[in-house]
Protein backbone atom coordinates (compact mmCIF):
# COMPACT_ATOMS: atom_id res chain seq x y z
CA UNK A 1 0.00 0.00 0.00
CA UNK A 2 1.44 3.36 -0.95
CA UNK A 3 2.27 5.76 1.77
CA UNK A 4 -0.51 8.18 2.51
CA UNK A 5 1.18 11.14 0.91
CA UNK A 6 2.21 11.26 -2.73
CA UNK A 7 2.06 8.82 -5.58
CA UNK A 8 3.11 5.21 -5.36
CA UNK A 9 6.69 4.45 -6.30
CA UNK A 10 8.43 1.42 -7.71
CA UNK A 11 8.95 0.26 -4.17
CA UNK A 12 5.24 0.30 -3.49
CA UNK A 13 4.67 -1.64 -6.67
CA UNK A 14 7.31 -4.16 -5.67
CA UNK A 15 5.71 -4.71 -2.29
CA UNK A 16 2.25 -5.01 -3.78
CA UNK A 17 3.49 -7.52 -6.35
CA UNK A 18 5.62 -9.34 -3.83
CA UNK A 19 8.78 -8.90 -5.88
CA UNK A 20 11.95 -6.89 -5.56
CA UNK A 21 12.37 -3.26 -6.51
CA UNK A 22 14.84 -4.10 -9.23
CA UNK A 23 12.36 -6.39 -10.89
CA UNK A 24 9.84 -3.61 -11.16
CA UNK A 25 12.43 -1.37 -12.73
CA UNK A 26 13.17 -4.03 -15.30
CA UNK A 27 9.54 -4.53 -16.19
CA UNK A 28 9.05 -0.81 -16.59
CA UNK A 29 12.13 -0.56 -18.79
CA UNK A 30 11.19 -3.57 -20.85
CA UNK A 31 14.17 -5.60 -19.80
CA UNK A 32 13.93 -9.40 -19.75
CA UNK A 33 11.96 -10.64 -16.76
CA UNK A 34 10.20 -13.89 -16.02
CA UNK A 35 6.66 -14.04 -17.38
CA UNK A 36 5.06 -14.62 -14.00
CA UNK A 37 6.92 -11.76 -12.41
CA UNK A 38 6.11 -9.49 -15.28
CA UNK A 39 2.41 -10.21 -14.96
CA UNK A 40 2.40 -9.71 -11.23
CA UNK A 41 4.20 -6.39 -11.59
CA UNK A 42 1.88 -5.19 -14.31
CA UNK A 43 -1.14 -5.99 -12.22
CA UNK A 44 0.28 -4.18 -9.24
CA UNK A 45 1.00 -1.15 -11.45
CA UNK A 46 -2.59 -1.09 -12.62
CA UNK A 47 -3.96 -1.64 -9.14
CA UNK A 48 -1.96 1.15 -7.56
CA UNK A 49 -2.19 3.47 -10.55
CA UNK A 50 1.57 3.74 -10.54
CA UNK A 51 3.08 6.47 -12.72
CA UNK A 52 6.71 6.40 -13.72
CA UNK A 53 8.65 9.36 -12.38
CA UNK A 54 11.60 10.34 -14.50
CA UNK A 55 13.29 12.55 -11.93
CA UNK A 56 14.85 9.56 -10.23
CA UNK A 57 16.36 8.38 -13.47
CA UNK A 58 17.66 11.83 -14.32
CA UNK A 59 19.45 12.04 -11.03
CA UNK A 60 20.84 8.58 -11.38
CA UNK A 61 21.80 8.60 -15.06
CA UNK A 62 22.17 12.27 -15.99
CA UNK A 63 20.04 11.60 -19.03
CA UNK A 64 17.05 13.88 -19.50
CA UNK A 65 16.22 13.02 -23.11
CA UNK A 66 15.70 16.72 -23.51
CA UNK A 67 17.18 19.17 -25.99
CA UNK A 68 17.04 22.92 -25.53
CA UNK A 69 16.06 25.00 -28.54
CA UNK A 70 17.19 28.60 -28.42
CA UNK A 71 15.70 30.86 -31.06
CA UNK A 72 14.70 34.53 -31.22
CA UNK A 73 10.96 34.05 -31.50
CA UNK A 74 8.22 32.24 -33.31
CA UNK A 75 6.51 35.28 -34.78
CA UNK A 76 8.83 35.24 -37.74
CA UNK A 77 7.44 32.52 -40.00
CA UNK A 78 10.87 31.13 -40.85
CA UNK A 79 11.65 30.63 -37.18
CA UNK A 80 8.19 29.24 -36.61
CA UNK A 81 8.73 26.63 -39.26
CA UNK A 82 12.11 25.78 -37.88
CA UNK A 83 10.74 25.33 -34.38
CA UNK A 84 8.02 23.12 -35.76
CA UNK A 85 10.25 20.75 -37.66
CA UNK A 86 12.86 20.60 -34.94
CA UNK A 87 10.24 19.65 -32.41
CA UNK A 88 8.88 16.99 -34.74
CA UNK A 89 12.35 15.62 -35.40
CA UNK A 90 13.10 15.44 -31.69
CA UNK A 91 9.72 13.93 -30.97
CA UNK A 92 10.42 11.16 -33.45
CA UNK A 93 13.54 10.29 -31.50
CA UNK A 94 11.66 10.33 -28.19
CA UNK A 95 13.35 13.52 -27.08
CA UNK A 96 11.66 16.46 -25.45
CA UNK A 97 12.03 20.09 -26.47
CA UNK A 98 12.81 22.79 -23.96
CA UNK A 99 11.89 26.02 -25.69
CA UNK A 100 13.68 29.33 -25.20
CA UNK A 101 12.83 32.54 -27.03
CA UNK A 102 15.53 35.14 -26.79
CA UNK A 103 13.90 38.05 -28.64
CA UNK A 104 17.45 38.85 -29.73
CA UNK A 105 18.40 39.60 -26.13
CA UNK A 106 22.00 38.59 -25.45
CA UNK A 107 21.54 38.31 -21.72
CA UNK A 108 18.60 36.06 -22.21
CA UNK A 109 20.64 33.78 -24.42
CA UNK A 110 23.27 33.42 -21.75
CA UNK A 111 20.64 32.89 -19.10
CA UNK A 112 19.02 30.16 -21.19
CA UNK A 113 22.26 28.36 -21.75
CA UNK A 114 22.92 28.42 -18.04
CA UNK A 115 19.43 27.16 -17.31
CA UNK A 116 19.70 24.44 -19.90
CA UNK A 117 22.88 23.12 -18.37
CA UNK A 118 21.37 23.33 -14.92
CA UNK A 119 18.64 21.09 -16.24
CA UNK A 120 21.09 18.61 -17.66
CA UNK A 121 19.79 18.83 -21.21
CA UNK A 122 21.33 16.36 -23.62
CA UNK A 123 22.14 19.12 -26.07
CA UNK A 124 21.43 22.63 -27.29
CA UNK A 125 20.34 23.82 -30.73
CA UNK A 126 20.69 27.56 -31.07
CA UNK A 127 19.94 30.19 -33.66
CA UNK A 128 21.59 33.28 -32.30
CA UNK A 129 22.91 36.58 -33.57
CA UNK A 130 25.05 37.20 -30.54
CA UNK A 131 28.58 37.69 -31.78
CA UNK A 132 30.21 37.45 -28.39
CA UNK A 133 28.54 34.23 -27.34
CA UNK A 134 30.90 31.83 -25.63
CA UNK A 135 29.85 28.28 -26.27
CA UNK A 136 30.45 25.76 -23.51
CA UNK A 137 32.69 22.94 -24.64
CA UNK A 138 31.27 20.27 -22.42
CA UNK A 139 27.80 20.08 -23.88
CA UNK A 140 26.54 19.07 -27.30
CA UNK A 141 25.95 22.33 -29.11
CA UNK A 142 24.74 22.90 -32.65
CA UNK A 143 24.05 26.25 -34.25
CA UNK A 144 21.83 27.19 -37.15
CA UNK A 145 22.81 29.91 -39.63
CA UNK A 146 25.75 31.10 -37.60
CA UNK A 147 29.22 29.65 -37.64
CA UNK A 148 31.21 29.98 -34.42
CA UNK A 149 34.13 27.61 -34.60
CA UNK A 150 35.11 24.26 -36.03
CA UNK A 151 34.22 22.57 -32.77
CA UNK A 152 30.61 23.80 -32.96
CA UNK A 153 28.72 22.29 -35.88
CA UNK A 154 26.68 24.79 -37.86
CA UNK A 155 23.73 23.88 -40.05
CA UNK A 156 22.55 26.29 -42.73
CA UNK A 157 21.06 26.59 -46.16
CA UNK A 158 23.38 26.98 -49.10
CA UNK A 159 23.04 30.72 -48.83
CA UNK A 160 25.74 31.46 -51.35
CA UNK A 161 24.14 29.10 -53.84
CA UNK A 162 20.79 30.72 -53.16
CA UNK A 163 22.07 34.18 -54.00
CA UNK A 164 23.70 32.81 -57.10
CA UNK A 165 20.50 31.07 -58.10
CA UNK A 166 18.44 34.21 -57.62
CA UNK A 167 20.66 36.27 -59.89
CA UNK A 168 20.69 33.57 -62.55
CA UNK A 169 16.96 33.19 -62.38
CA UNK A 170 16.37 36.90 -62.78
CA UNK A 171 18.76 36.89 -65.72
CA UNK A 172 17.01 33.93 -67.31
CA UNK A 173 13.72 35.75 -66.88
CA UNK A 174 15.06 38.57 -68.95
CA UNK A 175 16.42 41.00 -66.39
CA UNK A 176 19.50 42.89 -67.51
CA UNK A 177 20.12 45.20 -64.60
CA UNK A 178 19.87 43.88 -61.07
CA UNK A 179 19.75 45.11 -57.51
CA UNK A 180 20.19 43.50 -54.10
CA UNK A 181 18.77 44.78 -50.83
CA UNK A 182 19.16 43.50 -47.34
CA UNK A 183 18.84 44.64 -43.77
CA UNK A 184 20.25 43.14 -40.67
CA UNK A 185 23.13 42.42 -38.39
CA UNK A 186 26.55 43.35 -39.61
CA UNK A 187 27.53 40.03 -38.10
CA UNK A 188 29.20 37.78 -40.60
CA UNK A 189 26.74 34.92 -40.47
CA UNK A 190 25.73 32.40 -43.06
CA UNK A 191 22.79 34.37 -44.50
CA UNK A 192 25.15 37.20 -45.39
CA UNK A 193 26.56 34.90 -48.05
CA UNK A 194 23.39 35.49 -50.02
CA UNK A 195 24.90 38.71 -51.21
CA UNK A 196 28.21 37.07 -52.09
CA UNK A 197 26.50 34.47 -54.25
CA UNK A 198 24.42 37.15 -55.92
CA UNK A 199 27.44 39.29 -56.70
CA UNK A 200 29.41 36.31 -57.97
CA UNK A 201 26.63 35.45 -60.39
CA UNK A 202 26.28 39.03 -61.60
CA UNK A 203 29.98 39.20 -62.33
CA UNK A 204 29.84 35.84 -64.03
CA UNK A 205 26.88 36.93 -66.16
CA UNK A 206 28.46 40.30 -66.77
CA UNK A 207 25.29 42.09 -65.73
CA UNK A 208 25.37 45.45 -63.92
CA UNK A 209 24.05 45.52 -60.37
CA UNK A 210 23.43 47.70 -57.34
CA UNK A 211 23.74 46.82 -53.66
CA UNK A 212 21.87 48.44 -50.78
CA UNK A 213 22.66 47.07 -47.36
CA UNK A 214 21.26 48.56 -44.17
CA UNK A 215 22.31 48.05 -40.60
CA UNK A 216 19.86 46.69 -38.06
CA UNK A 217 19.06 50.04 -36.58
CA UNK A 218 19.05 52.01 -39.80
CA UNK A 219 15.85 53.93 -40.57
CA UNK A 220 13.67 52.03 -42.98
CA UNK A 221 13.24 55.17 -45.03
CA UNK A 222 16.70 54.64 -46.48
CA UNK A 223 15.32 51.82 -48.56
CA UNK A 224 12.61 54.08 -49.91
CA UNK A 225 15.17 56.73 -50.68
CA UNK A 226 17.28 54.16 -52.47
CA UNK A 227 14.36 53.09 -54.62
CA UNK A 228 13.33 56.68 -55.31
CA UNK A 229 16.83 57.55 -56.43
CA UNK A 230 16.56 54.82 -59.01
CA UNK A 231 13.31 56.06 -60.48
CA UNK A 232 13.61 58.44 -63.42
CA UNK A 233 10.46 59.74 -65.07
CA UNK A 234 8.38 57.10 -63.36
CA UNK A 235 10.64 54.29 -64.56
CA UNK A 236 12.90 52.16 -62.40
CA UNK A 237 16.42 51.89 -63.80
CA UNK A 238 16.80 48.21 -62.89
CA UNK A 239 14.48 45.38 -63.81
CA UNK A 240 15.41 42.65 -61.35
CA UNK A 241 15.48 42.87 -57.53
CA UNK A 242 16.78 40.27 -55.10
CA UNK A 243 15.98 40.81 -51.42
CA UNK A 244 17.65 39.14 -48.46
CA UNK A 245 14.36 37.83 -47.13
CA UNK A 246 10.81 37.31 -48.33
CA UNK A 247 9.68 39.81 -45.75
CA UNK A 248 11.90 42.53 -47.12
CA UNK A 249 10.82 41.64 -50.66
CA UNK A 250 7.20 42.01 -49.64
CA UNK A 251 7.86 45.35 -48.03
CA UNK A 252 9.76 46.63 -51.03
CA UNK A 253 6.99 45.55 -53.34
CA UNK A 254 4.54 47.64 -51.31
CA UNK A 255 6.86 50.62 -51.56
CA UNK A 256 7.29 50.13 -55.29
CA UNK A 257 3.57 49.86 -55.84
CA UNK A 258 3.13 53.08 -53.91
CA UNK A 259 5.52 54.71 -56.39
CA UNK A 260 3.60 53.41 -59.36
CA UNK A 261 6.08 50.66 -60.28
CA UNK A 262 4.39 47.39 -61.22
CA UNK A 263 5.59 43.97 -60.10
CA UNK A 264 6.42 41.84 -62.04
CA UNK A 265 5.76 43.91 -65.17
CA UNK A 266 8.28 46.67 -64.50
CA UNK A 267 10.54 44.86 -62.09
CA UNK A 268 10.76 41.22 -61.09
CA UNK A 269 11.41 40.48 -57.44
CA UNK A 270 12.84 37.42 -55.70
CA UNK A 271 13.04 36.98 -51.94
CA UNK A 272 14.63 34.37 -49.72
CA UNK A 273 13.16 31.90 -47.21
CA UNK A 274 10.18 30.33 -48.91
CA UNK A 275 7.50 31.78 -46.64
CA UNK A 276 3.92 30.83 -47.49
CA UNK A 277 0.74 32.66 -46.67
CA UNK A 278 -0.57 31.29 -43.39
CA UNK A 279 2.25 28.81 -43.45
CA UNK A 280 0.65 26.50 -45.95
CA UNK A 281 -0.87 28.44 -48.84
CA UNK A 282 0.87 30.22 -51.72
CA UNK A 283 4.35 31.66 -51.52
CA UNK A 284 4.20 35.29 -50.50
CA UNK A 285 6.71 36.22 -53.21
CA UNK A 286 8.91 34.45 -55.73
CA UNK A 287 11.61 33.04 -53.54
CA UNK A 288 14.61 30.90 -52.78
CA UNK A 289 13.24 28.17 -50.54
CA UNK A 290 15.22 27.16 -47.50
CA UNK A 291 15.01 23.42 -46.83
CA UNK A 292 13.71 23.97 -43.33
CA UNK A 293 12.75 20.39 -42.71
CA UNK A 294 16.17 19.14 -43.71
CA UNK A 295 17.87 21.81 -41.62
CA UNK A 296 15.81 20.72 -38.64
CA UNK A 297 16.47 17.06 -39.21
CA UNK A 298 20.18 17.62 -39.63
CA UNK A 299 20.45 19.85 -36.58
CA UNK A 300 18.72 17.27 -34.46
CA UNK A 301 20.67 14.27 -35.64
CA UNK A 302 23.88 16.26 -35.30
CA UNK A 303 23.23 17.45 -31.78
CA UNK A 304 22.31 13.97 -30.68
CA UNK A 305 25.40 12.38 -32.15
CA UNK A 306 27.86 15.13 -31.51
CA UNK A 307 29.71 13.20 -28.87
CA UNK A 308 31.25 11.34 -31.78
CA UNK A 309 33.16 14.55 -32.49
CA UNK A 310 33.50 13.42 -36.07
CA UNK A 311 30.74 15.70 -37.25
CA UNK A 312 31.53 18.32 -39.90
CA UNK A 313 31.70 21.88 -38.66
CA UNK A 314 29.55 23.41 -41.38
CA UNK A 315 26.75 21.73 -43.26
CA UNK A 316 25.06 23.63 -46.11
CA UNK A 317 21.85 22.21 -47.47
CA UNK A 318 20.58 22.81 -51.01
CA UNK A 319 18.03 25.51 -51.73
CA UNK A 320 15.49 25.72 -54.48
CA UNK A 321 13.64 28.37 -56.45
CA UNK A 322 9.88 28.77 -56.53
CA UNK A 323 7.74 31.23 -58.44
CA UNK A 324 5.40 33.28 -56.31
CA UNK A 325 3.80 35.82 -58.60
CA UNK A 326 6.47 38.50 -58.39
CA UNK A 327 8.40 37.20 -61.39
CA UNK A 328 7.30 36.56 -64.95
CA UNK A 329 7.54 32.77 -65.02
Amino acid sequence: MPKAKGHPTMLDVAREAGVALGTVSKVVNRQPVGEDYKRKVEQAILKLGYQYNSSGRVLRTDRTDTVALIIPNTINPYFAKLVHYINIALERRDKKTLLCFTDYDKNRELEFIRMARENQVDGIIALTYNAELVIPEDIAFVTIDRFFSVSVPCIASDNFGGGWLAAHRLYDLGCRRLAFMRIGSSLSNEPSKRKEGFVAACVELDVPFELKILEDNAPFGEFEAFLSSHIQNGRLDFDGLFCGTDMLAWQMIQVLKGKGIRVPEDVQVIGFDGIRMFGTLDYTVSTIIQPVQEIAETAVSTVLSSHLSTVPSLICLPVQYAAGGTTRD
Copy 2:
Protein backbone atom coordinates in the same frame (compact mmCIF):
# COMPACT_ATOMS: atom_id res chain seq x y z
CA MET B 1 38.80 18.43 -4.86
CA PRO B 2 36.07 17.03 -7.05
CA LYS B 3 36.03 13.37 -7.77
CA ALA B 4 37.75 12.46 -11.00
CA LYS B 5 34.54 11.67 -12.83
CA GLY B 6 31.76 14.17 -13.40
CA HIS B 7 31.20 17.72 -12.33
CA PRO B 8 31.75 19.01 -8.82
CA THR B 9 28.75 18.92 -6.52
CA MET B 10 27.69 20.97 -3.55
CA LEU B 11 29.59 18.56 -1.39
CA ASP B 12 32.80 19.26 -3.27
CA VAL B 13 32.18 22.96 -2.88
CA ALA B 14 31.54 22.52 0.83
CA ARG B 15 34.79 20.67 1.30
CA GLU B 16 36.74 23.19 -0.75
CA ALA B 17 35.25 26.07 1.23
CA GLY B 18 35.59 24.26 4.52
CA VAL B 19 31.89 24.59 5.33
CA ALA B 20 28.94 22.25 5.52
CA LEU B 21 26.90 21.03 2.60
CA GLY B 22 23.79 22.77 3.89
CA THR B 23 25.58 26.08 3.93
CA VAL B 24 26.43 25.77 0.27
CA SER B 25 22.82 25.00 -0.52
CA LYS B 26 21.77 28.12 1.30
CA VAL B 27 24.22 30.33 -0.51
CA VAL B 28 23.13 28.96 -3.84
CA ASN B 29 19.48 29.52 -2.95
CA ARG B 30 20.13 32.99 -1.62
CA GLN B 31 19.09 32.18 1.88
CA PRO B 32 20.60 34.12 4.80
CA VAL B 33 24.14 33.03 5.52
CA GLY B 34 26.98 34.70 7.36
CA GLU B 35 29.04 37.05 5.21
CA ASP B 36 32.28 35.16 5.71
CA TYR B 37 30.74 31.82 4.83
CA LYS B 38 29.06 33.28 1.82
CA ARG B 39 32.30 34.63 0.49
CA LYS B 40 34.16 31.41 1.08
CA VAL B 41 31.47 29.43 -0.68
CA GLU B 42 31.36 31.78 -3.62
CA GLN B 43 35.10 31.56 -4.03
CA ALA B 44 35.00 27.79 -3.92
CA ILE B 45 32.23 27.78 -6.53
CA LEU B 46 34.34 29.92 -8.82
CA LYS B 47 37.45 27.89 -8.19
CA LEU B 48 35.83 24.56 -8.92
CA GLY B 49 33.62 25.86 -11.68
CA TYR B 50 30.65 24.41 -9.88
CA GLN B 51 27.37 24.27 -11.81
CA TYR B 52 24.07 23.87 -10.06
CA ASN B 53 22.29 20.67 -11.01
CA SER B 54 18.55 20.89 -10.74
CA SER B 55 17.85 17.17 -10.85
CA GLY B 56 18.55 16.78 -7.18
CA ARG B 57 16.08 19.47 -6.29
CA VAL B 58 13.44 18.06 -8.58
CA LEU B 59 13.68 14.69 -6.93
CA ARG B 60 13.64 16.20 -3.53
CA THR B 61 10.93 18.81 -3.98
CA ASP B 62 8.88 17.59 -6.95
CA ARG B 63 9.13 21.07 -8.39
CA THR B 64 10.43 21.31 -11.94
CA ASP B 65 9.43 24.90 -12.65
CA THR B 66 8.35 23.59 -16.01
CA VAL B 67 5.04 23.87 -17.82
CA ALA B 68 4.10 21.70 -20.79
CA LEU B 69 2.54 23.46 -23.77
CA ILE B 70 0.49 21.20 -26.02
CA ILE B 71 -0.55 22.74 -29.32
CA PRO B 72 -1.13 21.42 -32.85
CA ASN B 73 1.78 23.17 -34.55
CA THR B 74 3.54 26.44 -35.02
CA ILE B 75 3.03 26.71 -38.77
CA ASN B 76 -0.34 28.31 -38.26
CA PRO B 77 0.45 31.93 -37.40
CA TYR B 78 -2.17 32.10 -34.67
CA PHE B 79 -0.62 29.14 -32.89
CA ALA B 80 2.82 30.54 -33.50
CA LYS B 81 1.87 33.77 -31.80
CA LEU B 82 0.30 31.91 -28.92
CA VAL B 83 3.40 29.79 -28.41
CA HIS B 84 5.49 32.91 -28.46
CA TYR B 85 3.57 34.82 -25.85
CA ILE B 86 3.07 31.83 -23.61
CA ASN B 87 6.77 31.15 -23.61
CA ILE B 88 7.48 34.79 -22.81
CA ALA B 89 4.92 34.80 -20.01
CA LEU B 90 6.40 31.66 -18.51
CA GLU B 91 9.91 32.99 -18.93
CA ARG B 92 8.97 36.08 -16.98
CA ARG B 93 7.93 33.87 -14.09
CA ASP B 94 11.13 31.85 -14.28
CA LYS B 95 9.34 28.81 -15.64
CA LYS B 96 10.51 26.64 -18.48
CA THR B 97 8.42 25.56 -21.46
CA LEU B 98 8.26 21.96 -22.54
CA LEU B 99 6.93 22.08 -26.09
CA CYS B 100 4.69 19.46 -27.64
CA PHE B 101 3.27 19.65 -31.17
CA THR B 102 0.41 17.28 -31.73
CA ASP B 103 -0.31 17.89 -35.42
CA TYR B 104 -3.91 17.16 -34.44
CA ASP B 105 -2.98 13.57 -33.59
CA LYS B 106 -5.04 12.29 -30.67
CA ASN B 107 -2.61 9.59 -29.72
CA ARG B 108 0.17 12.08 -29.63
CA GLU B 109 -1.81 14.28 -27.28
CA LEU B 110 -2.27 11.41 -24.88
CA GLU B 111 1.36 10.44 -25.18
CA PHE B 112 2.42 14.00 -24.42
CA ILE B 113 0.24 14.23 -21.37
CA ARG B 114 1.71 10.99 -20.09
CA MET B 115 5.20 12.21 -20.78
CA ALA B 116 4.54 15.54 -19.13
CA ARG B 117 3.38 13.87 -15.95
CA GLU B 118 6.32 11.51 -16.02
CA ASN B 119 8.48 14.60 -16.06
CA GLN B 120 6.67 16.11 -13.11
CA VAL B 121 5.71 19.31 -14.91
CA ASP B 122 4.07 21.91 -12.73
CA GLY B 123 1.19 22.26 -15.13
CA ILE B 124 -0.12 21.77 -18.65
CA ILE B 125 -1.53 24.33 -21.08
CA ALA B 126 -3.27 22.65 -23.98
CA LEU B 127 -4.98 23.71 -27.17
CA THR B 128 -6.59 20.54 -28.41
CA TYR B 129 -9.42 19.49 -30.67
CA ASN B 130 -9.66 16.02 -29.23
CA ALA B 131 -13.22 15.58 -28.05
CA GLU B 132 -12.58 12.40 -26.12
CA LEU B 133 -9.64 13.70 -24.15
CA VAL B 134 -9.71 12.71 -20.52
CA ILE B 135 -8.00 15.30 -18.41
CA PRO B 136 -6.13 14.10 -15.36
CA GLU B 137 -7.49 15.62 -12.17
CA ASP B 138 -4.28 15.62 -10.21
CA ILE B 139 -2.35 18.07 -12.31
CA ALA B 140 -2.85 21.77 -13.04
CA PHE B 141 -4.47 21.82 -16.45
CA VAL B 142 -5.64 24.79 -18.48
CA THR B 143 -7.12 24.69 -21.95
CA ILE B 144 -7.29 27.32 -24.64
CA ASP B 145 -10.31 27.65 -26.94
CA ARG B 146 -11.90 24.42 -25.79
CA PHE B 147 -14.09 23.97 -22.77
CA PHE B 148 -14.00 20.54 -21.14
CA SER B 149 -15.54 20.84 -17.71
CA VAL B 150 -15.93 23.28 -14.87
CA SER B 151 -12.89 21.79 -13.17
CA VAL B 152 -10.65 22.59 -16.13
CA PRO B 153 -10.23 26.32 -16.67
CA CYS B 154 -10.59 27.40 -20.29
CA ILE B 155 -9.18 30.60 -21.71
CA ALA B 156 -10.53 31.97 -24.98
CA SER B 157 -11.34 35.10 -26.88
CA ASP B 158 -14.83 36.48 -26.73
CA ASN B 159 -15.71 34.55 -29.85
CA PHE B 160 -19.40 35.30 -29.64
CA GLY B 161 -18.69 38.98 -29.24
CA GLY B 162 -16.30 38.81 -32.16
CA GLY B 163 -18.91 37.36 -34.49
CA TRP B 164 -21.37 39.96 -33.30
CA LEU B 165 -18.85 42.72 -33.87
CA ALA B 166 -18.07 41.49 -37.39
CA ALA B 167 -21.72 41.57 -38.43
CA HIS B 168 -22.22 44.99 -36.93
CA ARG B 169 -19.14 46.33 -38.58
CA LEU B 170 -20.18 45.06 -41.98
CA TYR B 171 -23.58 46.60 -41.43
CA ASP B 172 -22.08 49.92 -40.41
CA LEU B 173 -19.93 49.81 -43.54
CA GLY B 174 -23.06 49.65 -45.61
CA CYS B 175 -23.56 45.93 -46.16
CA ARG B 176 -27.21 44.86 -46.32
CA ARG B 177 -26.91 41.17 -47.09
CA LEU B 178 -24.35 39.08 -45.26
CA ALA B 179 -22.76 35.64 -45.40
CA PHE B 180 -20.73 33.56 -43.00
CA MET B 181 -18.32 30.80 -43.94
CA ARG B 182 -16.30 28.48 -41.82
CA ILE B 183 -14.53 25.17 -41.99
CA GLY B 184 -13.45 22.93 -39.22
CA SER B 185 -14.18 20.47 -36.53
CA SER B 186 -17.78 19.83 -35.75
CA LEU B 187 -16.62 19.88 -32.18
CA SER B 188 -18.47 22.40 -30.10
CA ASN B 189 -15.52 24.52 -29.10
CA GLU B 190 -15.25 28.19 -28.27
CA PRO B 191 -14.43 29.39 -31.80
CA SER B 192 -17.69 27.93 -33.04
CA LYS B 193 -19.42 30.68 -31.11
CA ARG B 194 -18.25 33.07 -33.80
CA LYS B 195 -21.16 31.94 -35.87
CA GLU B 196 -23.62 32.31 -33.01
CA GLY B 197 -22.56 35.89 -32.40
CA PHE B 198 -22.78 36.65 -36.09
CA VAL B 199 -26.27 35.20 -36.38
CA ALA B 200 -27.44 36.99 -33.26
CA ALA B 201 -26.30 40.31 -34.68
CA CYS B 202 -27.92 39.66 -38.07
CA VAL B 203 -31.21 38.91 -36.39
CA GLU B 204 -30.87 41.94 -34.21
CA LEU B 205 -30.10 44.15 -37.22
CA ASP B 206 -32.79 42.46 -39.23
CA VAL B 207 -30.41 41.85 -42.10
CA PRO B 208 -30.65 38.72 -44.29
CA PHE B 209 -27.75 36.28 -44.16
CA GLU B 210 -26.40 32.99 -45.48
CA LEU B 211 -24.36 30.36 -43.64
CA LYS B 212 -21.92 27.90 -45.22
CA ILE B 213 -20.22 25.56 -42.80
CA LEU B 214 -17.95 22.75 -43.93
CA GLU B 215 -16.67 19.76 -42.02
CA ASP B 216 -12.95 19.23 -41.60
CA ASN B 217 -12.70 16.68 -44.35
CA ALA B 218 -15.08 18.32 -46.80
CA PRO B 219 -13.67 19.11 -50.24
CA PHE B 220 -12.64 22.70 -50.49
CA GLY B 221 -14.50 22.97 -53.78
CA GLU B 222 -17.75 23.20 -51.87
CA PHE B 223 -16.84 26.72 -50.87
CA GLU B 224 -16.25 27.64 -54.48
CA ALA B 225 -19.55 26.08 -55.44
CA PHE B 226 -21.26 28.06 -52.71
CA LEU B 227 -19.80 31.30 -53.96
CA SER B 228 -20.61 30.46 -57.58
CA SER B 229 -24.19 29.74 -56.69
CA HIS B 230 -24.46 33.24 -55.29
CA ILE B 231 -23.16 34.93 -58.39
CA GLN B 232 -25.79 36.05 -60.91
CA ASN B 233 -24.69 37.83 -64.06
CA GLY B 234 -21.25 38.46 -62.61
CA ARG B 235 -22.67 40.01 -59.46
CA LEU B 236 -22.54 38.53 -55.99
CA ASP B 237 -25.89 38.56 -54.23
CA PHE B 238 -24.45 39.48 -50.85
CA ASP B 239 -22.17 42.40 -50.05
CA GLY B 240 -20.63 41.42 -46.74
CA LEU B 241 -18.72 38.24 -45.89
CA PHE B 242 -17.52 37.11 -42.49
CA CYS B 243 -15.11 34.16 -42.40
CA GLY B 244 -14.24 32.00 -39.42
CA THR B 245 -10.53 32.70 -39.78
CA ASP B 246 -8.26 35.14 -41.58
CA MET B 247 -6.87 32.25 -43.52
CA LEU B 248 -10.24 31.28 -44.88
CA ALA B 249 -11.01 34.91 -45.64
CA TRP B 250 -7.78 35.15 -47.61
CA GLN B 251 -8.58 32.01 -49.54
CA MET B 252 -12.10 33.14 -50.33
CA ILE B 253 -10.82 36.48 -51.54
CA GLN B 254 -8.57 34.67 -54.01
CA VAL B 255 -11.51 32.62 -55.21
CA LEU B 256 -13.69 35.71 -55.55
CA LYS B 257 -11.01 37.57 -57.48
CA GLY B 258 -10.78 34.59 -59.79
CA LYS B 259 -14.47 34.99 -60.47
CA GLY B 260 -14.14 38.68 -61.20
CA ILE B 261 -15.60 39.88 -57.91
CA ARG B 262 -13.69 42.81 -56.44
CA VAL B 263 -12.84 43.16 -52.75
CA PRO B 264 -13.78 45.45 -51.09
CA GLU B 265 -15.66 47.21 -53.92
CA ASP B 266 -18.20 44.45 -54.60
CA VAL B 267 -18.04 42.63 -51.31
CA GLN B 268 -16.41 43.51 -48.01
CA VAL B 269 -14.69 40.72 -46.13
CA ILE B 270 -13.82 40.32 -42.46
CA GLY B 271 -11.80 37.46 -41.04
CA PHE B 272 -10.94 36.39 -37.52
CA ASP B 273 -7.61 36.07 -35.66
CA GLY B 274 -5.69 39.21 -36.45
CA ILE B 275 -2.90 37.63 -38.48
CA ARG B 276 -0.29 39.99 -39.85
CA MET B 277 2.00 39.52 -42.82
CA PHE B 278 5.24 38.01 -41.57
CA GLY B 279 3.89 38.30 -38.08
CA THR B 280 4.57 41.99 -37.74
CA LEU B 281 3.52 43.89 -40.86
CA ASP B 282 0.03 44.73 -42.10
CA TYR B 283 -3.05 42.68 -41.34
CA THR B 284 -3.65 40.14 -44.07
CA VAL B 285 -7.36 41.01 -44.15
CA SER B 286 -9.79 43.14 -42.20
CA THR B 287 -10.21 41.15 -39.05
CA ILE B 288 -11.38 40.54 -35.53
CA ILE B 289 -8.19 40.53 -33.50
CA GLN B 290 -7.74 37.90 -30.85
CA PRO B 291 -5.94 39.24 -27.79
CA VAL B 292 -3.24 36.63 -28.04
CA GLN B 293 -0.94 38.19 -25.52
CA GLU B 294 -3.70 38.44 -22.92
CA ILE B 295 -4.78 34.88 -23.60
CA ALA B 296 -1.23 33.72 -23.08
CA GLU B 297 -0.79 35.75 -19.94
CA THR B 298 -4.07 34.54 -18.50
CA ALA B 299 -3.40 30.90 -19.35
CA VAL B 300 -0.04 31.05 -17.66
CA SER B 301 -1.17 32.80 -14.52
CA THR B 302 -4.13 30.46 -14.29
CA VAL B 303 -2.15 27.27 -14.68
CA LEU B 304 0.35 28.41 -12.11
CA SER B 305 -2.28 29.32 -9.56
CA SER B 306 -4.79 26.60 -10.28
CA HIS B 307 -4.14 24.83 -7.01
CA LEU B 308 -6.24 27.55 -5.49
CA SER B 309 -9.20 25.88 -7.17
CA THR B 310 -10.99 29.20 -7.04
CA VAL B 311 -10.28 29.96 -10.67
CA PRO B 312 -13.20 30.52 -13.04
CA SER B 313 -13.91 27.74 -15.47
CA LEU B 314 -14.22 29.91 -18.57
CA ILE B 315 -12.49 33.19 -19.20
CA CYS B 316 -13.37 35.12 -22.37
CA LEU B 317 -11.14 38.01 -23.31
CA PRO B 318 -12.27 41.00 -25.38
CA VAL B 319 -11.60 41.15 -29.10
CA GLN B 320 -11.21 44.13 -31.33
CA TYR B 321 -11.74 45.06 -34.96
CA ALA B 322 -9.01 46.21 -37.33
CA ALA B 323 -9.24 47.27 -40.95
CA GLY B 324 -6.99 45.40 -43.31
CA GLY B 325 -7.88 46.55 -46.79
CA THR B 326 -10.73 44.16 -47.44
CA THR B 327 -13.38 46.54 -46.14
CA ARG B 328 -14.24 50.11 -47.14
CA ASP B 329 -13.18 51.91 -43.96
